[in-house]
């Protein structure tokens, strides 16, 4: 009992923290709410970290909740990634929060609620609880997207996201009803048992139900053709929220996708492979077009995040075809994408905080001369996102493509490489804009504070992840991350 309480203590901490922040929200206390929420996240992070590497798998409070929530090595790793991601997102936006007046206590409470939802998602072992966790996270994020209600773009983004999100939620519920109808349960273990006990062709209803569930999840990660919201919502949302959605939320979504895939739907791979391949192709190509045509950096990054989801779908596809090792490559890719995209968004947030720019390509003309350090780091992030060798992004793509080739998906891997080549066009466009135009010398805002130090850290990590094996033998290498992922995945079997 006490042990189980200890297991869910991080999640409880987050909820309590969120409630506390809500209570504090209207006090005029001279309180740095950002730092307070970071502190809460850090506490939870520390608690979770103490369990890392332990191999365990416990259904918490089985007597009360049944088998709906599980704590295992898999969820521990994802908790760490989610908590760490949220923490870095809040910290890197330190300057941005200070520069805007509308970030009050409620904002941070909502962030914590969203984090709670994401963590619960990685623990969910039952589809209804997965849905509820997803909705907790989504509802908080809806509110966060439209948080600056003075900004018409922000309102519009939220409206679009809410409506599309509730349609997606309805599809999830429909799928759930079908699964429930087919198997009489929504618990993952029971579904797996049902699949194993019945012949392959008796699963039509289950397959269709599963399909709707996956559609919702693909909607949330922004796979084409369910991507229509991505660019607008990313654009309209306040920068910290965009970062949270692009990186941390995506991590949580892949937690549940992987859990469902590896645990149960693996047996239904025959049905899945074709729709998933189509989805993959559409996402890679559609995302590239989306990213190519943007003139605003935030929108370009949003478009490219669709492409990155596409890369991970390649790996998911390899899993469907039986190459379970590919799941590690998804984990590694999530981390590598997180590092590079948070860095890139961090620079945008730093500029938005200090210079109140619109952040179009136009604004970055001559950036290399006015802000040489930031421009250099931006270039690192762009290179990493494009998957340039000796950056962490390269390694991430490398694992994905080799996984796909091992699974016999040579055409998809080739398409992925082609799309990575295309991505050079939009990422390097920014680098070219920064360096190939002269600019009247403007004043530099570069000093060491929380934001810039973290951006620098992300830049170092991007490089370290790419060449770290060679330079710093005593630090953990990307191999260690892979090892960690592998260990986490084993707890799913």
């Amino acid at each position: 009992m006490i042990y189980e309480l200890f297991l869910i203590l991080p999640m409880m901490l987050i909820v309590l923290g969120a409630l506390m922040l809500m209570l504090l929200s209207h006090r005029e206390a001279p309180l740095n709410r950002n730092m307070l929420s970071v502190l809460i996240l850090a506490l939870a992070f520390g608690l979770t970290l103490s369990r890392l590497g332990e191999a365990h798998s416990v259904f918490v409070f089985e007597a009360i909740f049944g088998r709906s929530f599980i704590v295992d090595s898999f969820s521990t790793l994802f908790d760490l990634m989610i908590l760490g991601g949220a923490m870095l997102t809040l910290l890197i936006n330190h300057d941005y929060f200070k520069s805007r007046h509308y970030f009050d206590g409620d904002f941070f409470a909502l962030v914590l609620f969203a984090v709670f939802g994401m963590m619960a998602l990685s623990h969910a072992h039952e589809l209804i609880s997965a849905f509820i966790s997803l909705e907790i996270a989504s509802l908080s994020i809806y509110a966060l997207v439209g948080y600056n209600s003075d900004n018409p773009k922000s309102r519009e983004a939220m409206m679009k996201y809410v409506v599309l999100g509730s349609l997606a939620g309805a599809l999830f519920m429909l799928g759930l009803a079908l699964i429930y109808g087919a198997t009489g349960s929504t618990e993952l273990g029971a579904i797996a048992a049902h699949i194993a006990a019945h012949p392959q062709d008796a699963h039509t209803m289950l397959i269709i139900g599963g399909f709707f569930v996956m559609v919702t999840l693909f909607f949330k990660i922004g796979a084409v053709p369910f991507h229509a919201w991505v660019v607008d919502v990313y654009h309209g949302a306040p920068l910290p929220v965009t970062m949270l959605m692009a990186s941390t939320f995506k991590i949580a979504l892949f937690a549940v996708i992987l859990r469902i895939y590896l645990g149960d739907f693996a047996a239904l791979g025959d049905f899945w492979s074709l729709p998933l391949q189509i989805l993959c192709v559409l996402t890679l190509i559609g995302g590239s077009f989306l990213a190519l045509s943007q003139s605003n950096i935030k929108r370009m990054l949003a478009g490219s995040s669709v492409v990155h989801a596409g890369y991970m779908l390649i790996a998911l596809n390899a899993i469907t075809l039986g190459n379970f090792n590919a799941s590690e490559s998804i984990l590694f890719y999530l981390m590598s994408y997180f590092i590079s995209s948070v860095g890139a968004f961090g620079i945008l947030s730093f500029l938005a905080a200090h210079e109140h720019k619109q952040l179009t390509f136009e604004d970055f003309k001559g950036f290399g001369y006015s802000h040489p350090y930031l421009a250099a780091m931006m270039s690192i992030f762009m290179l990493s996102l494009a998957g340039f060798p000796s950056t962490i992004g390269f390694l991430g793509k490398f694992y994905i493509f080799t996984g796909a080739i091992e699974a016999g998906q040579i055409a998809l891997a080739a398409l992925g490489i082609f799309v990575a080549f295309v991505s050079i066009f939009y990422y390097f466009r920014l680098i070219a804009t920064m360096y190939f135009y002269d600019t009247p010398k403007t004043e530099q805002h570069f000093g060491f504070d929380t934001t810039t130090v973290l951006i620098l850290l992300m830049a170092i990590l991007s490089i370290w992840g790419g060449i770290g094996t060679a330079l710093l033998p005593y630090l953990p290498t990307p191999d260690a991350l892979i090892e960690l992922s592998r260990h986490a995945i084993t707890s799913l079997d």
Binding site: V163, F226, A228, S288, L292, S293, T469, P473
Partner: protein, 626 residues
Amino acid sequence: MELYLYLALFSPLAGSLIAALFGARPKTLFTGVVTSALLGLSLVSSTILLFYILGGGAAVHVEMMTWMATGDLYIPFGFLVDQVSVTMMMVVTVVSTVVHVYSIGYMDHDKSFNRFFAWLSAFVFSMMVLVMSDNFAGLFIGWEGVGLCSWALIGFWYHKESAIWAANEAFIMNRIADLGMLIGLFLIYWNVGSLQYDRFFEAVVTLDQSVLVMIGIFLFIGAMGKSAQFPLHTWLADAMEGPTPVSALIHAATMVTAGVYLVVRANPLYEMIPEVGYFVASLGAFVAMFAASMALVNRDMKRIIAYSTLSQLGYMFVAAGLGAYWVALFHLMAHAFFKALLFLGAGNVMHAMSDELDPFKMGGLKKVMKGTWIMMTLASVALAGIWPLAGFFSKDLILEVAFVEHHYVLYTVLLLTAMLTAFYSFRLVALIFHGEERYKEYGSHPHEAYTFMLIAMSPLALLAVIAGFAFKGSYIDMVTAVLPATEYHVHSPVVFWIMVIGTQLLVGAAIAYAYKKYQNAKIDKAFEQRPCYKVLFNQYYIPHFYEEYISKPYRELSHVAWKQLDLRVVDATVDGIATLFYKTGEQTHTMQNGNLSTMLRWMVAGTVLLLALGVAFTVGISVVAG
């Protein structure tokens, strides 16, 4: 001992990084002091290692970390201090410490003072990596590192067009040679499966003779580039565009000897392929003579010394090619000391004469520059090979090797070259320091260099004098532990003494003639009209030949390739692809019209279509299967 190894290796790097931090700042004296002090530390560590090895200690071998491990490729990053590398380490650290201290004075008025020290220390670090690595991969990294630093330092005064040109020339020539070396390394890896020295040398006996010949030739091509052997020699003379301390350190004492080091290091390989060795020796002898002849008439002080370096490198290759590896290494060491000294002296003279390089515009400087005069004379005597200075012991040894090995042609060539060497060295000394004070016509006001610069040079002077007779015995004992310990003795004492005394007399005569002819230098117009003078003065027209028959056609070809191929084909294709992408992106724009209804329809339609496809596919499969 590992601690000293790491200290010796990494303190130059630390110095370089510290100096680089202040690289863009105006001069701060302490960068020079700190880098020099750190090099001093490296020198002390190397000395400790030297005494450890001298005292019979086993070679220090450390494996710092795994550098690359993918699949079957396993390259550990290890370092080895044995008798050979410790010799090189001593040479590198002694000369570079002296040069660093000297440079504090020499670069005194340069506004890029800090940048200079950053690159100079970076060079030393690369050189240390080169000589200390225990495998060919590390050697290659150091090899490229010194190439890079050399490029940056030759082109140090990048506002001078000629400096940039010389830097690029050196870089490109070296790249051509490095390609050869790289092929050699690939061949080694392919045939042996490892780049470790010890693994390779063990495997040498089992390899096919033709493979060994190929490896030997390709490695030597790399050595030819670094050590500026014919036909890749032109860059060395042009590299004199760099600051003089750079010439002393890089283009006389250390980097250019890397080729010799490579051949010495790979001695088990060259033992197996004597025919390649003989080629190396012949080429060396040819270059010795060839370079010395160009030095005879040149009117640029630094170039004369550069040609003499080239010539002495030729000597080293003769020794290495004939299998006398320890002799080559010994001459390498002795040469490093006196040649660096000569260059630093030349630097003093340049300073005194406001960067004048033509010795015909100097003369009589010994009155104002006594210290420099003494040191340069000592260095020249050592270079000429007069007993008992360093050059006598090392250079005469090479002559003996050629004689004993019955390569009388080589011997004769080397003997002649020794006379030429003596002649041009003292031509230079006579022109600069003796005779009338011609500089007065040109309005110069020469002054002696800072005292501390002279003091900094003095260890080199001391070594140039004593390196031969003081060190030879213990050196041979030490180094023959790892290198083939062939004794080279002329059997008959009569012949031996005739040779030694004869050589000394010939060299002495050459010196005397040089003094007599150039004591009161008159520029001999008639002499300058002679064809042989013209040929020599224009460096056998080789640069001209390169320009006319390699550079120009290449430029033409590049131009054509640029106009026709690059602009029309490559650029057009790339632009076309880019435009295609952007265009399509803009076309698809319209699908993304920002309307919520459209988005909802996309979503529903997508779901239905995917579902239909999936179902159709599954049904299709079951129909086919059923």
